[in-house]
Symmetry: D4
Subunit: 254 residues, 8 copies
């Protein structure tokens, strides 16, 4: 914490030195940290300030009531976008009670509340190998858009029909970063990585059957890409890919 926020620490020290607060108060204050305790969750209301990323609520394994409670607590504090991932429409209905303007992306199964407004901080191409990879791509796209990133959706350009990929090469090169979602043999990021100089974020998807083992084949392929400098995230983790892209663009803007 001192670690996290050194300026605060120094101010606190000054206050103690100036007798504005007692040492004991200072020690206590160091423990009054920026989160709201819901008993079942410690909502981290300051994380966005710290990491620059949208606040995410992963829906599976949480009750609809818990999700609504967490979103309500986040909405009660000032801050940036809030995203619920892997959300059913039923969860959306519950969340809308506490976040009226929240938007639901049916295909990506994401709820976005309090999306940021403003000039785009950059442009990201969201590329899929096949139609079945679209839900993962949409999870990424809606996260990006919530953070004022311009999204170029480039769909169904898998490696078995190379001309489809070559036909979009300009769009690929125009992006500040690329998110590439692919299942089955997961070869698309390697190709894209050899065609562009910008950062490429590979998302293996669980699309496939038999020995794809729920996305493991694609994950291993991406980790072993012969194109250097490919970033890999977890299977089906569209949100994570988008969060990484936001980190890149924010760093660039800084």
């Amino acid at each position: 914490m001192g670690a996290v926020d050194r300026a605060t620490l120094e101010k606190l020290m000054d206050a103690v030195a100036l007798g504005q607060i007692t040492p004991d108060e200072a020690a206590q204050r160091l423990e009054r940290l920026p989160f709201v305790d819901l008993r079942y969750a410690k909502v981290d209301t300051h994380r966005q300030l710290r990491t620059g990323l949208p606040e995410v609520v992963y829906a599976p394994g949480k009750s609809t009531e818990q999700i609504r409670g967490i979103v309500r607590a986040l909405m009660a504090e000032p801050g940036g976008p809030i995203i619920v991932t892997r959300a059913s429409r039923e969860v959306y209905d519950a969340v809308r009670v506490v976040a009226k303007a929240a938007i639901y992306n049916e295909l990506g199964r994401t709820i976005v509340a309090r999306a940021e407004i403003g000039a785009p901080i950059g442009s990201v191409g969201v590329v899929t190998a096949g139609t079945s990879d679209l839900p993962v791509a949409e999870e990424a796209a809606s996260t990006l858009e919530a953070a004022t990133v311009k999204v170029d959706r480039i769909s169904d350009v898998g490696v078995a029909g190379l001309h489809r990929l070559l036909s979009v090469s300009e769009r690929l090169r125009d992006a500040d970063a690329l998110i590439v979602a692919a299942g089955m043999e997961g070869a698309l990021p390697s190709l894209v990585g050899g065609m562009v100089s910008c950062p490429v974020i590979a998302v293996p998807t669980s699309v496939g059957y038999g020995s794809s083992f729920g996305g493991l084949a694609a994950l291993l392929a991406m980790l072993n890409s012969c194109a250097p400098g490919i970033a890999v995230v977890n299977i089906d983790n569209g949100f994570g890919a988008a969060a990484l892209a936001v980190r890149l663009l924010r760093a660039r803007a800084a």
Copy 2:
């Protein structure tokens, strides 16, 4: 056996019916089958007749003496090419004693004795993603050449530099079949499979590190290829890929 060689069976029946041999002799003859028993190995001297493939001796786990003994037995019978795979030069020296004209392929670590001579039965492109895949490719190439297949070696055309692959597209399309060896993410067969209509035989290689897990990543990628109709063989199994290609070409010639 009856199953394997019905014509022989029928002739045997005739001979019994004609009283040329006794029933008992017939039953015994049915058990005098076409192999030479070396006690540590039953050398299958007729396999080539049955499957049309070169006779292979896999060197690891066998003593140099055993390998020489097996080759000697095979040479003693009429037949086609004999191949020793994963052979050290020391093994080669031992084999040359019993098969004077045997040739050693240093890179592919194969010994070929009694290579067939004659017009090529077809042409196979042996394609590699990178320099490190060459030993596996050479194991395939020397097997093919022993069976009078013309080989076009197309090296180092991995997917990270797509223009290298595109520059050889005509050679790819000119082949009767393609053997594609790749390690790391194993994406090359998918690309090639989308470019040509001939059979593509994918050989994962153990080239790579970390999560390539000795070729497993490439193997899974190839099995999950989005290009339909890719044949996969075992990791590093250059001989097996070539044997499959020979089956194809022989079937075609038939």
Copy 3:
């Protein structure tokens, strides 16, 4: 693309040289590639010309509407057979609206539209180890038949009753290629591979329990076959096996 279709490229060059089209038009035309963009899918209407294979739509993970849309787009272009795999009857009902003559194979769960007509390009034996392997075998068989391949179904000849296999040895030897589907220990392709000289395509099936691990045991067995020259495809991938067989036969016919 130039890579894929060099003749077209050369013609285009001629047209530019002759002033028939402007250089700029030529560059643009190079990007007007042969697919129809449905936004959720880039339907590759020329793939058959390029690879000689039927067009396949893998149903799982796609909505009924998406499948119908893709089939409609494929039907709108001239071309060969279209196959939907792993299709429920409900999908079939939707597809029939846009492809009236489409046929449904209940056991293989395939829909075939615009099956080719003409003299058979060859004969393939589709062999199963047990009754439970039939759905995979039928996926292969209906794909083959759509491409005018004659199919010989040889069922339930697993290795535990060797005489069943031996009784069909002649049918095995009469085929131009064999597709062998087996689950459990996956031993059947090894045996068949030792009995015939034609190409053998092994399909592991997810039939089994306990340590069969959804077909992994059979897959590993087939990859490690001691019979040389066995082609392996993904678990339960009947379509892929058939596509490989079509490649073989087309190459042979060429």
Copy 4:
């Protein structure tokens, strides 16, 4: 212990009841159990009486001194055969100091001391798929012979050359039990299991490469055999297979 040796327990009770020994002595005696404590090993000198099996010392991970010490302790007690497995010749030299008549099987890497003498308790066929499986087979064979089991070595009858297997079918049916060692795809036990009615003990061997994963492919194949009633033991565990066979034959003799 009461569990292990109830007759002894009853005698002890009688002795207490008769006042021949004090209760305290009895309790102490119950803890003076039949093993020799070498500090680094508790040599179980009575195991053979309890389980009817040879005493085995697994050499890897033990120093030559420890192995010699264990063998010496075992030799100091009356009992049956003693076997050291995976033993180098160096270990053999050390063991011979304390067990003069010990025999070394170079191929199987076993040392046998105090082999039993007497009429054979039965006959076991030790079958191998290939030459490379012989070391595992010899470990089994020398264990069997040490326990007065007659061994019929049937080598190199793998499934790719079916006629080799069929030619030995009578020898297979003549055995009281069969041990079948195979690497690669591990199919041989399934075939043998369908041909005979006696117990079949399958030993996967680590012979193979690539995706054989050190014998895993063969192990899984054997566990998933479609031939019912196949016993499987650990990879390369020739001793274990033989021990199981001895249990069978002893039970039969009982």
Copy 5:
């Protein structure tokens, strides 16, 4: 086939020699092998004669109609017991139509038709570590009983309460063979194997959670048992364990 049944072969030869049948008829007869072809299954009506085991029908993946058809075909031929495993009550209702006297074991989910009658051929203890292992044990027990094997059910003697196991030690020693079913850490066969001299057949069960990985933990434990001579079968494979026990007892009786 000749291989399988040499006596038959010799008689056939005699018949040919005596002119009782023509050579051509003989060759044809060799191919008229003992199974009934249902198109979806080749019912092996003579397997019992060949292997001495009950005929088994594994229900999952087969339609109720197919199962009934297979049982009907088996009932139409003379022979021994017929067992359907993993059968629902619905399957039972269908089977009863063609096999009136069939018995259903609810816990073991087995249907037994035409159980053998006669003096027991031996006695097998069926041992379970916990209550949840009972279904697997019952599958084994009903198979054994169908083959006139006396069964001693010894339940819930897992290793965490050693006194429970010790209390049944005499019953363990009284059996001709033991089947030991255990999930979780799968330690029970090792203990039992150290207590008795008869053959021990270990069946890993899928009982457990977390890192038991569906029985894999127990399977590995049993394969690695430090008690020599333990036979392992597939996870949850109660039938397989019983089939192995029947092989043992038949061999003993022979």
Copy 6:
């Protein structure tokens, strides 16, 4: 058993020596061991005395009737707390019939009957990384409370928001032992282990997706913790973690 309870053994010996019981009675009594045989389960009514732990009934795979029967048998004997884990409310309703005062923990899915009463034997912090880990934590907490352990629930202090963890550091240091439940990357126990000197019990949870492989990622992380002296239990095994904590505290109290 003699082994388990030596004092009892000595008394028995005295009784035999004094002629109070016959040797035969003694031997029989040694086998009349402290459990109740329900035919489907041997209820171990004395385990608590032997190991100091609550008696646990794992619900999955047992019928409601079996669970009620086991609880009834346990309640019929004197003893300590009885816990049913992974229990549905339906199971609770059945158990309440035989254990009126049983309590149900909805979140942890545990039923506790006959909870101990008395001064706490110590205090355990039950720490979770995220909200989704709470069911596992509650299984642990209710087990602890049944054994008179004071529980401090410390929720949602995962490593991505370090200040949340630092804010509870005093509570962590005040505990006698800590149970730390975490899914995903499973890093929390390593951090906690570096902050405190008391025993840390790590419970991987199956929370996560993609390559978390049902808790495997967290399990491996915890086993490989760079903080020395972390105890790991099975995935989702809240009961096991609590049982270990009770062992620690009992040992401490002893």
Copy 7:
């Protein structure tokens, strides 16, 4: 750190409040943390104060020079025992230059410097299943002894000879905690866990072959133990097991 050492923090606050140091100095001091920076290592000289554990240096992957440097840095600060694990004798010779009194345990491959002296803080039984588990056990034992824990070595009491285990049951029950090292099927901790009430720490060892997969079989068995309350540590991690035991005993002493 504030988190780690609150008393220090409060004192620092007091000093600032009293004007004894400036706020800036305070902030800087908070960052002057208790470790020595060797550039290749930040030696954590206060960890023992914080966690109560010996300081450990894991030798593999570090150069002899680095190890000596780290030990020298640790010796230069006051503190408790220092342990180097997996150390060759060559490393020992280098360490002795900077830590004259260091002791080398050949079997356990540990170097102990500055072992603690004083009354034992408790007694731990270090139990092994077999002779080959001794190196792991000795790593644990020498760690324990360095922290003034009394060690009772109980060797070679594996489950295949149950009487060996029962003969030491009293010693097992006399310990404050037990460390149980076992390879192969890893069953010993389950048995011991059912016999005693004290904490049981299970250490899987890499002893075994074939499908033991380097200790994985034993690890899974221990995690799935049916005896509740078993702590598991990493494969071959004798030091970790001892560190956990020290945590237990220290907590008990506290």
Copy 8:
């Protein structure tokens, strides 16, 4: 290629239109692609222009001669830095013959030739959890430095001593991007990811033993990080991490 370099394509079209070259020449030129064919390798001399990354030669599996040949070919073309990874000193000696000014990083085992000179394009923190992770970190660092990236080495700040990490928090926040290398439980990237807003690139290392499975545990942990937006690369792939960082910084500079 047209795809890769559209500007070139348009110029070529202009030249054809202007009659400067013939159409045939144009088509041929499209195939004269920017690489040098060494027969064993197609050296991609223009990749740096295309992707902005240093040219890498992965040494293992290549002969010293091949490496020297590849470096010579690369040096003969204009271009940026050339890096050989996993290079022994022997390889270095060979490379120096063709690249006099090449530098060897002993710890990181990298050779850098023709390092770029100029103002830093940004600053990257290279963070390690422990001393044993340094080789991987140095591979990354020397790659970065070759591309004029400023490197801040932050070593040995693993999670078991949290204060070490907190003490460097300012340096972490000052970087444009962070590369975090960790083995064992791989938790460090999660912590760092929660402390900073810049991109975090996680490199699992193969440091660890037992169930770390060569870095698999760390890899899975990093893929499952609860801190959003972590980029993961292959195990031990320091070069890949640096290449990704260069992509980021180049994108930023663009």
